[in-house]
């Protein structure tokens, strides 16, 4: 069994303790030794017993989770009018202090600089262990995704998510150390209103995906559309290399795809609800966070996956993991009207 820690001083710790006790009754084992080292385990051995990481309660839904290190993990979200962030320091989750502002949609960082983006063109930055500060952007549209290439360079994307039949401009922003600047959207073969996520394999190989199956690639000089074979919304993407870069989406039925032949090869995941978030392990196994509490594990190279029990019916929106096997999935009651209730699950801590 994976070494785990339970911090009874936090709500999440209490829940974990209860789960461990229940698990002990069932399986006769519950490791509750805070001093145990975290044993690195191969990805393939990650157990599939997910439990609460902490209780976001009425602070709102959580949309994204990311860390630069196992003891520096962030998750963001909130209510439409108030964004929140939580931090895991390797021991426990705690709510971070943020400047006032609306919902935060995504988090990513590199080189010790963490970016959070959200509604109304909101961008927050945290440098090292410093305070989190607002950084102006030239847009008021929601920013749905951010990816940092380095401490000095980041991309953010956004736009109006709801397709009401009218035109609206998608957003690409580029930060190169000074200020966020808006970048022109390249010609695409369809009308679309928003880009939802951006992710790169390097500063000269960045991808953005969005509404109506649009995918763009940045080659270091400019953005251009790449084929996807779908008109479904593409919500998120992640990868370690071209070989395992995965894209997910679909509002009603899930869509999963991988990079192939200069574009994304996608297919509808029959029988699965819409996919929201994806994380790809070093071995190429993809984890997909989906609606209705569905969590999918997709083998390396495959397009189909199998469900993993999560114990929640809430929307799972973001997922991320460490090389040591600690996986965190977040979401909330995003399929209901606000105020939202959040959920944070984890395994393998």
């Amino acid at each position: 069994m994976v070494g785990s820690r339970v911090d009874v001083k936090t709500p999440g710790g209490v829940l974990r303790l209860v789960l461990c006790l229940l698990a002990a009754l069932a399986f006769g084992a519950c490791d509750d030794d805070d001093d145990d080292p975290v044993d690195p385990v191969p990805d393939a051995a990650v157990p599939e017993t997910w439990g609460p990481a902490f209780d976001p309660a009425d602070q709102g839904a959580l949309l994204s989770v990311f860390g630069e290190a196992p003891d520096d993990i962030w998750t963001v979200g909130g209510q439409p009018e108030a964004g929140v962030a939580w931090h895991f320091d390797g021991q426990a989750w705690a709510q971070a202090t943020l400047p006032d502002g609306p919902l935060l949609n995504w988090v990513h960082g590199a080189g010790g600089v963490l970016w959070m983006v959200g509604n109304e063109g909101r961008a927050l930055r945290r440098v090292g262990d410093g305070a989190i500060e607002a950084v102006p952007t030239p847009v008021t549209a929601p920013l749905w995704g951010v990816w940092a290439a380095s401490a000095d360079e980041a991309w953010a994307v956004g736009g109006e998510a709801r397709d009401d039949g009218t035109e609206a401009d998608p957003v690409i922003l580029h930060f190169t150390g000074g200020a966020w600047e808006r970048v022109a959207i390249p010609d695409v073969d369809r009308g679309f209103r928003a880009l939802f996520k951006v992710f790169g394999l390097g500063p000269g190989q960045v991808y953005a995906v969005g509404a109506r199956g649009v995918a763009l690639r940045y080659d270091g000089a400019g953005w251009a559309q790449i084929p996807t074979g779908t008109g479904e919304d593409l919500i998120s993407l992640w990868g370690n290399s071209e070989a395992d870069l995965a894209v997910v989406g679909g509002r009603s039925n899930g869509v999963f795809g991988r990079l192939a032949d200069g574009g994304f090869q996608t297919q509808v995941a029959v029988g699965q609800p819409g996919f929201n978030g994806v994380f790809v392990q070093a071995d190429g196994v993809a984890w997909v966070a989906a609606n209705r509490g569905v969590l999918l594990q997709v083998p390396a190279g495959a397009l189909d996956g199998t469900r993993v029990a999560t114990g929640t019916r809430e929307v799972l929106h973001g997922i991320w993991g460490t090389a040591t096997g600690h996986r965190v999935a977040v979401g909330g009651s995003l399929d209901s009207s606000p105020p939202w209730v959040g959920v944070a699950l984890e395994v393998g801590r």
Partner: protein, 779 residues
């Protein structure tokens, strides 16, 4: 032990109907037919509780409620009520072609299928609440599908079906080699069951979507507490264990609760200025519950003929897709559908994709109640059951060919069987049901005078013709707005006016003050019998036209020209600021009907409307200058017979006018004092005597200066005929564009020659205004 009395159809379905050896898709012979769920179309399930009955009545009110822009209708819409599309033969049913709608998409070379911009999730709307040009899809749209509304009867029972009840008939790879595949569609990960492509799993979703796409009404999702109270279990929590309800068979309803809870997730919003949600949670709950409680169509008693037809239906392969029953928690449901997707071949394919359904795949249509829900197939191209069978292609081709090989008597038996599946007793060629009472002579909706003999027969034929839904097979099109006269004229009854959602769009090009009509005419039709909807081609002025009432038009038709011309004063010689231009048509006749007084007689009105609005050609011997004798659709011309045309004209001429509800002589004095009566002349002298239509049938400038519009003959863009005011209370919305929802709004919309009277109204004291509006309301 409780004794259960089962109705005859339960015994028949459980026993004899399923015992046929010819049935290639045998159902579970042991499954008892569900009880307490069958009733006449549009009725509530007999086993409903008192609380459910109260909810049903409230929901029925919501379903038939007409929404206005101020209540959230729009900003774009196809309909003003749910029942607009679900009216045939009763609320909750289907509709004729005039309620068809288009889906528009872009299909790209890489296979991407994208709902077209300019649509609402692919649904192409016909109107903007604020007027102006109608919504149109992006120019890149290259995939169009025409959809005819589908009935809701028994949908709550289909919602209860466990997924395995549907999946057991799936054979996506045709493993059994019978040429029939069948695969499920999925919605949010659940097996879909509603919609032409089985693209939706939850009734809440099946209602919230169209409310938004077709009416422009925003809603919030039902709360978990509301979902828990719905007649069909719809609770997400503890779904794996299922939720048992009184009246349901014992045993877990696996997955039912959760798949019904999987409705569209997000609150819907729009920017029409009306606070969201525009339909309250309570109303949405009642509407969803109403739909869930609609009974399954009650089948007719089996007869030897229908039994032979049922056997043939199975033998020739129809039942391979139209499986006789699906088994739900209440028992077997004789829905005659597997709810699966089947490839229906190129001749039916339209390229529209939904979920996993490709462009040629469609859900097997349930056949219960099919007798009363024509037209058939996804785009309504079949007006009869026989035609629908013969238009089957793809996986249905083998059964179709077998049908074609049947003897006439065998086909008749199959049709008799299909018609026995419910709804036959209320079937008609339109919306007038068999046995519906006709108002007495002189009453609104009845004949103008007592008729007998041949006249009565002709009036009845004309009334049936006015109400009759036409299909492509009858010559409807090639372009059209309605498929019957009643399609536009039904408020408050056949022959009356029409609501916003049957407005006709006129268009043209305005260069400075010069108006140019398009070569194909100023009507921008809503439908094409074949291919995409007609769209404007560079025109820059668009004007919706409200449907005026035709009640009493025969009296106006009989007015001698001089009684109309007597009020004309085109040069305002009397200096009262009111002109009044008689619309003299090119042939010298006097126009008197239409918003521009562009039509001279009832006969020509019939010729014009059947031609311009329905695309029906008329016999040459009628001599109508406003009709066409030939068009380029596939139907032989003429598409209306002489007898039908003459009967229609006779009916319209012999419609009784609206009668006043009360007299308000004092208010009428006000009406005259402030000048309204200068145009809305209270009395014209006709053949039978005085006619109190409150019109002069002349053209007046009433549009605001600078407003673009449509010119027609002598009528300039700002000229409109004075509309009759009799029966005003029944004919909202008002003004030529239908933008005035109340009489007061209409008064305030008067400009030009009507400006002085509008000011006169504004200057009235409050009690005078009330009396004035009361007078108008009782005309």
């Amino acid at each position: 032990m409780m004794t259960v009395r089962r109705p005859w159809w339960a015994l028949a379905l459980a026993g004899g109907l399923w015992a046929c050896d010819d049935d290639p898709a045998p159902n579970e012979p042991d499954a008892a037919v569900a009880e307490g769920v069958f009733a006449p179309l549009g009725s509530i399930r007999p086993n409903a509780t008192a609380e459910e009955r109260a909810t049903f009545e409230r929901g029925q009110e919501v379903a038939t409620r007409r929404f206005e822009p101020a209540e959230g209708l729009g900003p774009r819409f196809n309909l003003v009520s749910c029942a607009g599309c679900h009216e045939k033969p009763v609320a909750g049913g289907a509709a004729a072609h005039y309620r068809d709608f288009y889906i528009a998409a872009v299909t790209l070379p890489d296979g991407s299928y994208i709902p077209a911009q300019g649509t609402m999730s692919g649904v192409l709307d016909s109107f903007f609440a604020e007027g102006g040009p109608r919504p149109r899809p992006e120019d890149a749209a290259n995939t169009f599908g025409l959809r005819n509304p589908i009935p809701f009867f028994g949908v709550g029972l289909l919602a209860e079906l466990p997924e395995e009840a549907i999946l057991r008939y799936a054979d996506p790879d045709d493993a059994d080699g019978d040429g029939i595949s069948g695969r499920p569609n999925y919605d949010r990960g659940f097996v879909g069951r509603f919609g032409m492509k089985s693209q939706t799993v939850s009734i809440e979703g099946f209602i919230r979507g169209p409310l938004n796409n077709h009416l422009g009404l925003t809603t919030d999702p039902l709360t978990p507490e509301q979902q828990a109270r719905l007649p069909v279990p719809s609770v997400a929590a503890d779904a794996e264990e299922g939720v048992l309800r009184e009246g349901l068979a014992e045993g877990p309803i696996t997955s039912v609760t959760f798949h019904q809870a999987a409705a569209p997730a997000e609150p819907l919003t729009d920017d029409d200025g009306v606070p969201d949600p525009e339909l309250s949670g309570e109303d949405l709950f009642d509407l969803v519950a109403f739909s869930m409680l609609l009974a399954a169509p009650q089948p007719d008693p089996p007869t030897p003929e229908t039994e032979r037809g049922r056997a043939t239906f199975g033998r020739i392969g129809c039942a391979a897709c139209h499986v006789p029953s699906l088994v739900g928690p209440r028992g077997a449901l004789p829905v005659y559908s597997d709810l699966l997707l089947h490839d229906m071949g190129e001749s039916l394919a339209d390229g529209i994709q939904m979920g996993v359904a490709k462009g040629s795949e469609f859900r097997t249509a349930p056949l219960w109640g099919v007798a009363a829900t024509a037209p058939y197939l996804h785009d309504g191209r079949a007006m009869t059951l026989a035609s629908a069978i013969e238009l089957h292609d793809g996986e249905g081709k083998r059964a179709r060919d077998a049908w074609l090989a049947l003897a006439d008597a065998e086909r008749a038996e199959v049709l008799a069987f299909l018609e026995s599946l419910g709804g036959r007793d209320v079937r008609s060629t339109g919306l007038i049901k068999p046995g519906d009472a006709v108002p007495a002579a002189g009453e609104m909706g009845g004949p103008l005078r007592p008729l007998s003999g041949e006249e009565a027969s002709q009036w009845a034929l004309g009334r049936e013709m006015f109400d009759r839904d036409h299909g492509f097979e009858d010559g409807l099109g090639p372009v059209f707005n309605g498929d019957s006269c009643r399609a536009c004229h039904f408020d408050p009854m056949i022959g009356g006016a029409g609501p916003l959602d049957v407005n006709v769009m006129r268009h043209g090009t305005l260069t400075d003050a010069d108006f140019t009509a398009p070569a194909r005419g100023t009507i921008l039709h809503r439908f094409s019998a074949h291919g995409p909807r007609p769209e404007a081609d560079g025109q820059n002025v668009f004007e919706p036209r409200q449907t005026p009432s035709t009640l009493g038009m025969g009296l106006l038709d009989q007015l001698p020209p001089e009684s109309i011309l007597a009020n004309a004063d085109p040069d305002d010689l009397d200096g009262d600021g009111i002109q009044g231009v008689a619309h003299i048509l090119p042939d010298g006749s006097l126009g008197r009907f239409g918003w521009k007084a562009q039509v001279p007689s009832t006969l020509e009105f019939v010729g014009d409307a059947t031609n311009a609005e329905l695309g029906l050609t008329a016999p040459e011997e009628i001599g109508s200058a406003f009709s066409r004798t030939a068009d380029d659709d596939d139907h032989p011309d003429p598409e209306i017979s002489v007898a039908e045309f003459e009967a229609l004209t006779f009916f319209m001429n012999q419609q009784a006018p609206p009668a006043p509800a009360a007299r308000h002589p004092d208010a009428e004095v006000l009406f005259m004092t402030i000048g309204c009566g200068d145009c809305h002349v209270p009395k014209l002298v006709g053949l039978p005597g005085e006619i109190n239509a409150y019109t002069d049938l002349l053209l007046h400038v009433v549009a605001e200066e600078g407003t673009p519009g449509i010119a027609d003959g002598m009528a300039t863009i700002h000229h409109f005929r004075t509309p009759p005011l009799w029966g005003l209370r029944f004919t909202a919305p008002y003004m030529h564009s239908g933008t005035a929802m109340t009489v007061e709004d209409a008064i305030l919309a008067h400009h030009g020659e009507g400006a002085a009277s509008r000011q006169g109204f504004l200057d009235l004291a409050a009690d005078q205004k009330a009396a004035f509006l009361g007078f108008l309301g009782d005309l």
